[in-house]
């Protein structure tokens, strides 16, 4: 018959009491500490941009925007221009995309739409392992295996495509072409695993409706499922592109490291990441180092723009893919 005892613990003055209680329970402390760690990500990113900007100052002040379209790279004369590297980065990435997009999207369609679940997950497992192979190992194999193979295949490539300016001039093995092929091996797994995820998330009534209308398996896939998953697939391609722009080791080992702009894919070239990797440790003088850091800033800006676009595309179709 006693009165319920619930009122005894009631906080006398709501707010102050509950803050005290939360402090004592550790809630406030846990909240603050974890908040600071989450904030650290934003702080690190901001610091990264700041350091790149600050340390590239000598080069930015001396060359201004013309840095981006100057063709000479002559450390001895103190003349630095980014164009050969930007050109090399874009050409090799474009070549890699030309090879990797059909291959990757094709394999993703097969794994998501056709293969029996058991085989599909086993193959996806294998392909995701390919993504985990360190790039220095891919570059190493590219140099010792792919390069000799391409040298042997050169006459055939030439007889088929030699009439275009793209495959003219002597071929020594190290070239834009070799770098593009090596890059494509590295980015195919990304396209496959994200595109497969996106295609799998297309509702199955889309497929069923197409099949019920008499479409063949391929028609339902190509005309219904793929357009439905289009945004996510494009997003996966953008992610792969950002990846290939920043790829360093594999490219460094097979591109030839020669800061020249040539129309021929068989000619040796250079890329932004490769020149930083090769010359940074030995760069003497503020201007030389500043120029290399400014190249890093250019690379950073390129990948941030492409990644930002890719995330928006992938996130808008599926929640997966944001953490990969």
């Amino acid at each position: 018959m006693s009165a319920p005892a619930t009122t005894i613990d009631a906080p006398p003055e709501g707010r102050a009491r509950s803050l005290w209680k939360r402090l004592r329970d550790g809630d406030e402390i846990a909240h603050t500490v974890t908040f600071l760690c989450a904030f650290a990500v934003i702080a690190v990113t901001a610091l990264l941009v700041f350091e790149l900007y600050r340390n590239s100052e000598p080069s930015r002040l001396k060359f201004g925007w013309s840095f981006l379209w100057t063709k000479t790279w002559d450390p001895v004369a103190g003349k630095f221009g980014a164009l050969p590297f930007i050109y090399g980065t874009i050409v090799t990435s474009a070549l890699a995309m030309i090879i990797a997009i059909p291959l990757g999207v094709g394999a993703a369609i097969f794994l998501a739409e056709l293969a029996p679940p058991g085989i599909s997950s086993a193959l996806t497992f294998l392909i995701e392992l390919l993504a985990a192979v360190p790039s220095v190992i891919i570059g190493f194999l590219g140099f010792f295996v792919l390069l000799p193979a391409l040298l042997r295949a050169e006459p055939y490539i030439r007889s088929a495509l030699g009439w275009t300016p793209l495959f003219s001039g002597p071929f020594y093995g190290v070239s834009f072409f070799t770098a593009g092929v090596v890059l494509s091996v590295m980015i195919v797994p990304f396209i496959i695993s994200i595109s497969r995820e996106v295609i799998l998330s297309v509702p199955s009534d889309q497929r069923e409706a197409a099949l019920a209308l008499g479409a063949t398996r391929w028609e339902s896939t190509w005309d219904v499922v793929v357009p439905f998953a289009r945004k996510g697939i494009v997003g996966s391609i953008f992610l792969a592109l950002a990846r290939s722009l920043g790829e360093t080791m594999a490219v460094t080992m097979v591109i030839g490291n020669d800061p020249k702009i040539s129309a021929s894919l068989f000619a040796p070239g250079y890329s932004i990441a490769a020149v930083i990797a090769n010359e940074f440790a030995e760069a003497t003088g503020d201007l030389y180092q500043g120029a290399l850091i400014e190249l890093g800033l250019v690379l950073f800006a390129l990948t941030i723009i492409i990644n930002g676009a890719a995330r928006i595309l992938v996130v808008s179709t599926t929640r997966k893919g944001t953490s990969q």
Binding site: D25, G26, D27, A30, H31, T34, F35, A38, V41, I42, T45, L48, E51, L52, N55, P102, G104, A107, I109, F110, L114, A115, L123, L126, I127, L130, A132, V133, P134, S135, V136, I137, I138, G139, F140, L141, F143, F144, V145, V185, V188, W218, L239, R243, L245, T248, M249, M253, I276, A277, F280, A281, I293, G296, L299, T303, I304, N307, R311, T322
Partner: protein, 282 residues
């Protein structure tokens, strides 16, 4: 009509076969890489590789013991930077996060994850190497740690989110405060996943080469201390494979083989654990 139908069927079979071919090609590449490295790397692997210092040019034999130790030290430093911050940040996003700030953190994390590793190397160079005026293990560890950060955050968040809400509610119904519920119930429940995520993350940075070239720099001998340059396995593979000596190429094959076995081994084990967990949860 029948001609049209036949054409559609042919296209169907042809295109489907083509997609199958793409898959075989992609998966075949991995098998080829593994097979090639296995044949060339394993054959020249000896006990000396794990116990000896690199031999001088022209002398056969020698090993990469210093690089193996160097890689281990770099990974330890990287974990000290990346794991605690990443893990606690993940706890914030999963358990405390509001809307605006959390999505800003998530988006920044994704962007940071896309930054090329060589740019992270420049970052560590500017922060540690420039003020100290010499290369060091610390700088290499910082570069790798920053590379680990985004994945550490996102994978911790994901595994914490997979813990059923009922567990949190149960703990709080028994009178636990929110932080007590998180640290004694939710995190232990997500422990296996989080640790697996860290292993995968470590396997990824273990193969990073580019940021080490001008932070940890490399060393032909035992690294004299944490504040001095050190060799690392991937960095040795790079320097040895671009050299002009056959002996060094042979060593690079062995090093590549060892690195690949380590990285893929961790990946296979971790993915099997994750697959099993997902299976049980369903």
């Amino acid at each position: 009509m029948t001609w049209n139908k036949a054409r559609r069927k042919t296209v169907n079979v042809f295109m489907l076969a083509l997609t199958g071919l793409c898959t075989v090609f992609a998966a075949g590449t991995l098998v080829y890489i593994l097979g090639y490295l296995f044949v060339h790397g394993a054959s020249s692997l000896s006990w000396n590789f794990f116990t000896k210092l690199p031999a001088p040019v022209g002398e056969a034999g020698g090993g990469m013991a210093n690089a193996i130790l160097g890689s281990a030290k770099l990974l330890l430093l990287a974990s000290c930077v990346g794991v605690p911050i990443g893990f606690l940040g993940g706890v914030y996003l999963a358990e405390f996060g509001g809307s605006g700030f959390s999505s800003a953190v998530r988006y920044t994390t994704d962007l940071l994850n896309g930054v090329p590793s060589i740019v992270m190397g420049i970052f560590a160079y500017a922060l540690i190497v420039v003020p100290q005026k010499h290369f060091s293990t610390f700088a290499g560890g910082l570069a790798l740690g920053v590379i680990m950060l985004p994945i550490a955050i996102r994978s911790s968040e994901e595994f914490l989110r997979n813990v059923p809400l009922a567990l949190r509610e149960g703990a709080m119904a028994l009178g636990a405060s929110k932080s007590k519920a998180i640290f004694t119930v939710v995190i232990p429940a997500a422990k296996a996943g989080i640790i697996t995520g860290i292993m995968l993350n470590l396997a990824r940075v273990a193969g990073e080469t580019a940021p080490l070239l001008f932070t940890a720099f490399g060393n032909r001998f035992w690294s004299p201390g944490w504040n001095q340059p050190t060799a690392a396995l991937p960095e040795m593979i790079f320097r040895y494979s671009i050299s002009a000596y056959d002996d060094w190429h042979q060593q690079a094959w062995s090093a590549g083989f060892v690195l690949l076995v380590l990285v893929l081994g961790v990946n296979i084990v971790a993915r099997l654990i994750l697959a099993n967990k997902a299976h049980v949860a369903r």
